[in-house]
Symmetry: C2
Subunit: 209 residues, 2 copies
């Protein structure tokens, strides 16, 4: 029977969004409705109220981050608002090798790095339904000063301009819709002919036998 | 608010499959779970038991088909197993213009024609879980002689070889899964950045305002 193992190689999904757009909530719900592996990024920025080490990020200090870099244990990294953000290498390649779907939650700069390293990856850009909504969400999070909020908004505006470089754009208006759309995109990508080399050769062999 | 009208231009979906693979059943279910427009093909082949004129195909005679061709009312056509199969032009462009999702159920030759005419279209190839299953399904349809079944199997084998030219491959093993997968592919394609010119400019303008 065909299609039991469409491809031995997993799917790498890059998910980016301006901060405050709700990508953590989206990802948490996505995890509940389909089997994905989340790669947790490592950062030197301070932990915010409500965040958990090893869940939202691995929160480390700069010397530790530098040592990881020297030991080539960081897949890609970027410096953003004065802090380092990096993707630990270990798990990602292993998961992909065993055919799993790996989701990287990553800043726009990091997204571009990953696309270069993994041209076969799929990139999704989550956008807020409007900048006013984004500002409101940042304000309600209330972990930051007005100055920090304005600085985040400035960064968000410039991040939004990276949208055209992504394969898909999903508007995070209703949360459940955004999750369902991302789930659908991942599901669909798995059926791409270019990702179905094994299935394709089975189809052809079947037809010839 | 963003995303209410992601693109003014509709999505053209080409669905092909070897005969007997169940594409009519799949399409009938797909119509029930998402808004699509089905373009009904026109053919000169005789109607089979259980088929309905204007539902499965428009069944016409050869002089009528030739007149349609002369009047440029056929988008594309192909001759297959001694009969003509064509796509009437009228509805397709109109539906696409109003932003609808149009599904063309079409033979592999016709599929290649449509992809040339509409490079922006999405093509899906539905395959049976195995050639034995396909033969069994053709036999159970029992509208055809053994000779006809063997001739259809030969054609099916050669049709399967067109699979690599399609964007997506979906295995029609469990019917509901095949329908759900096709629905997901269509949904995902609507979120492609390259199809979201309007959304993208809204995003950028929003970020600049």
């Amino acid at each position: 029977m065909l299609g039991n193992n469409q491809n031995g190689q997993g799917l790498l999904v890059v998910l980016s969004a301006p901060s405050g757009c709700g990508k953590d909530t989206v990802l948490a719900l996505l995890e509940k409705c389909m089997p994905i592996r989340r790669s947790i990024s490592m950062t030197t920025r301070p932990i915010r109220p409500g965040e958990q080490d090893g869940v939202d990020y691995y929160f480390v200090d700069e010397p530790y981050f530098q040592r990881m870099l020297q030991e080539d244990k960081i897949l890609e990294y970027t410096r953003y608002a004065g802090n380092y953000y990096g993707t630990p290498r270990t798990a990602v390649d292993e998961w992909l090798h065993t055919g799993e779907t790996v989701v990287l939650k990553i800043e726009v700069e990091g997204g571009a790095n990953v696309r270069r390293l993994y041209p076969d990856s799929v990139s999704i850009f989550l956008v807020p339904p409007g900048m006013a909504v984004l500002e409101d969400r940042l304000r309600r999070r209330s972990s930051e000063s007005e100055e920090e909020i304005q600085s985040r908004m400035t960064i968000a505006r410039s991040e939004m301009k990276h949208a055209p470089q992504y394969d898909y754009i999903v508007v995070n208006d209703r949360l459940e819709d955004a999750v369902e759309n991302i789930r659908g995109i991942i599901q669909a990508e798995k059926h791409k002919t270019c990702r179905s080399a094994n299935l394709l050769s089975e189809v052809i062999n079947n037809a010839e036998s």
